[in-house]
């Protein structure tokens, strides 16, 4: 859990370093989500932001629920974003998606019971030259085959770092 003081600090820092004060909400939410274990924005954090920025909590949730990169639910240690755009689709991307779902035994927007993986869809990741592609946290993996996907998952399960 991220302490209340730390969240306040993030908000304060954002206020100081930005040219415009009105628009720091999305930036702050990214910062908080980055720092909170499980990659999400819990209710208490949204409430602190609401107090600090004097924006109603409902407004914050309006934003949180609109953008796919924010989550109000706990996510896994590794967030796997699967590119579901056409270049990946024609390069057998569907098989990659099936393999991921089978290996992890979860559907999109779900988290494995061990809290390790969350599976999410993503629009084009911009790496069509090496499709199909996935992104795990901030790392890209391209030219995937079902075999490669299984290896990547197994490596991560085995505790190897990205």
């Amino acid at each position: 859990m991220l302490a209340k003081e730390e969240i306040k600090k993030i908000v304060q820092e954002a206020k100081n370093e930005r040219l415009e004060e009105q628009d720091i909400l999305i930036y702050i939410l990214h910062k908080i989500q980055e720092k909170i274990e499980n990659n999400y924005i819990p209710e208490y954090a949204a409430e602190i932001v609401s107090e600090e920025l004097k924006i109603p909590t409902s407004k914050i949730y309006e934003v949180l629920t609109f953008y796919s990169m924010f989550s109000t639910k706990k996510r896994g240690k590794y967030v796997i974003r699967v590119c579901t755009s056409l270049p990946c689709h024609v390069a057998n991307g569907r098989e990659i998606i099936n393999t991921l779902k089978e290996e992890l035994k979860i559907d999109f927007n779900q988290t494995t019971s061990d809290g390790l993986f969350t599976l999410e869809e993503s629009g084009c990741l911009g790496l069509c030259g090496v499709s199909p592609v996935i992104m795990i946290n901030n790392e890209y993996y391209g030219d995937l085959t079902p075999q490669k996907v299984r290896e990547i998952i197994n490596n991560l399960k085995g505790g190897e770092s990205l």
Binding site: E20, I26, E62, Y67, M69, L86, C128, G129, Y140
Partner: protein, 602 residues
């Protein structure tokens, strides 16, 4: 500083990084140190060189020898052979069509030799983290020229004369847009760079931001001077962490060198830029939605007019240009409008970056003069089909675009010509499709995307695209009727005319264009319950040809649901009820005994 004898450019674009560029670089560095060459060999990590399917790539200067598909072992060998002994390592060179291997400079390789680089002039050539390398390639010269020798009106005039049109998709004349923003009354104005490229299959903006961030900073500053803006924002997708990182470094360097901030280059003009990060919403590429997102709200579009030039960010006059458009600005200012017009057509001057993807040999980014034909682009630069299968069509413009069948491949690529064919240039994505790709499936695919990305504000887009998706889904399952096709077409036209923003207005295009050229495929799905491309799972079956099957059991062993039965050395059979049509069996059969048939076996 000691004199370097060799410079190694190693591509650190997103695709090469994913293909193992970092480990190659690590080995290079280690080996170079081992041989005590670190003072004479300079390694530069550049942006994307474009030939993504051949990565990781590097080029060794002064000769310009181009090495591809590198591995850590390759790096070791290249240091020992090439750098130490001066012998070119043949196995990692580019291989020509006839399998002939000759060391050739990068610029002579067909993929590169046909290109004309304006927007991507520095991408893959300079170190994006070093402002001096940008300056060495005439960087910030245009800014100097604009601020010291030109009035804002003159800058706008040059851009207008160059004929530069917005590369983000719509193709609106850039100079005109700037003029609107300049003439719009207001003390405070904003200059925004739209780096929220989201069209599936287009990645030139990521590549430019990663490979040449200073070109965007320079262009935005020139534009700000022209329109009278004091603040700028770059709105970047959060999916592009490398781009964000490199742009952040570049902004700091530009401030340090006095190209941003107060009194730029000693003039009265002051301007600064900040980065705003998106959070995963395709609709934010639409300019009014993007501005809402910068303001910290839901990224929903609004009705235009008023246009951003009149009422933009926080209600103040704003000008928005896309990354690739901006990247063209500095050389236009520096060399003049006629220089840019030497390429392209009368109405679509200059060059355009295209992202080749799908069923083509050389996938990646290419920058070519406008007016090049699709055939030249796909066959001569793209190298044609990688498998020898017949190329059927090319999909351009992403979910807002359409398909162009092979018989129209001699059409020149420009805004008007593609529009006549029912497709668009869009942001430059070109997805090549072959005979294995079903056009109904492609249309359904894009509709699924639109349904997902519709912001939900207006009804035609929210409800209409969902209905269209449902009909397409029905058709691909073999449950559609001819009447469904009519409803689909009708619905498409209504949504096109009545949606609020560009996302909804263009969402029906993939359906309309596939219906235009491939109505027979739709009819095959509804009338005969067949999928001619054998792609739609509900309309196909996998069968074993008893004459070819030798009973090797490979297929039975790989089948995840045990649907294949048969004894060793005897003909195998697929249980159609159990089969999940995953295609694993066909991949492992070495005797070509398994095939797909349509309609499905009952």
């Amino acid at each position: 500083m000691p004199l370097t004898t060799n410079t190694i450019l190693i591509c650190a674009g997103g695709a090469c990084i994913s293909a193992g560029e970092e480990s190659v670089k690590d080995v290079l560095e280690r080996k170079i140190k081992e041989y005590n060459l670190q003072d004479t060999i300079n390694i530069v990590e550049t942006g994307c060189m474009g030939a993504c399917s051949l990565g990781p790539i590097m080029v060794i200067h002064p000769e310009g020898v181009y090495y591809q598909k590198l591995t850590p072992e390759a790096a070791e060998k290249i240091v020992e052979e090439h750098l130490l002994k001066g012998r070119v390592v043949e196995e990692y060179l580019y291989k020509g069509d006839k399998g002939k291997i000759v060391p050739q400079p990068q610029k002579e390789i067909p993929f590169f030799s046909r290109q004309v680089k304006v927007a991507t002039r520095n991408v893959g050539i300079i170190d994006p983290l070093n402002i001096d390398e940008y300056i060495a390639r005439d960087g910030y010269f245009a800014l100097h020229k604009a601020l010291k020798e030109m009035t804002p009106e003159q800058v706008i005039e040059v851009v207008k004369e160059s004929g530069l049109r917005g590369r983000g998709g719509a193709g609106f004349p850039t100079g005109l847009k700037w003029e609107f923003a300049r003439k719009s009354p207001g003390d405070e104005k904003y200059m925004i760079c739209n780096a929220d490229e989201g069209d599936p299959g287009a990645f030139m903006d990521r590549s430019i931001l990663e490979g040449d961030p200073h070109s965007i900073i320079e262009a935005m500053t020139i534009a700000a001077y022209a329109i009278g803006a004091t603040k700028g924002f770059v709105y970047v997708r959060a999916e592009y962490p490398i781009a964000i990182e490199r742009l952040t470094v570049a902004l700091n360097q530009a401030r340090e060198y006095g190209f941003l901030g107060e009194n730029i280059l000693g003039t009265d003009f002051s301007f600064d830029i900040e980065i705003r990060i998106g959070a995963g919403a395709f609709v934010c590429g639409e300019e009014t939605a993007l501005m809402h997102s910068i303001e910290g709200k839901r990224g929903q579009p609004r009705v235009k007019p008023p246009f951003p030039a009149q009422k933009g960010l926080w209600g103040k006059p704003s000008n928005i240009n896309n990354v690739e458009t901006l990247a063209c600005v500095p050389p236009i200012i520096y060399h003049g409008p006629q220089w840019f017009r030497q390429w392209g057509t009368e109405k679509s001057p200059g060059t355009k970056v295209f992202a080749l993807a799908g069923k083509v040999k050389n996938t990646g980014l290419v920058e070519v003069p406008m007016g090049i034909t699709l055939r030249e682009l796909i066959y001569e630069i793209g190298g044609g089909s990688p498998t020898g299968k017949k190329i059927k069509a090319v999909q351009t413009g992403g979910p807002s675009g359409g398909v162009i069948p092979e018989e129209y491949f001699d059409t020149p690529v420009d805004y008007e010509s593609l529009q006549q064919l029912g497709a668009i240039v869009g942001s430059g994505g070109m997805i090549v499709l072959d005979e294995d790709d079903c056009m109904v499936d492609v249309a359904k695919f894009f509709l699924e995307f639109t349904v997902d990305e519709s912001c939900g504000k207006c009804t035609p887009c929210r409800e209409g695209t969902k209905k269209m998706y449902e009909i397409l889904d029905k058709i691909t399952k073999g449950e559609g009727t001819e009447e469904d096709i009519d409803i689909l077409e009708n619905l498409a036209n209504v949504i096109k005319d009545s949606s609020l923003c560009g996302l909804g207005q263009t969402a029906p295009n993939p359906v309309l264009s596939t219906l235009r050229y491939y109505r027979d495929e739709y009819l095959a799905h509804v009338r005969d319950k067949t999928c001619p491309a054998k792609k739609c799972k509900d309309l196909i079956s996998y069968v074993i040809n008893p004459e070819k099957c030798v009973g090797c059991t490979a297929c039975a062993r790989v089948c995840p649901v045990n649907a294949i039965n048969g004894e060793v050395k005897k003909v195998h059979e697929i249980d159609q009820d159990a089969c999940v049509k995953c295609g694993s069996c066909i991949e492992v059969c070495r005797f070509g005994a398994i095939s797909k048939v349509t309609p499905a076996v009952q």
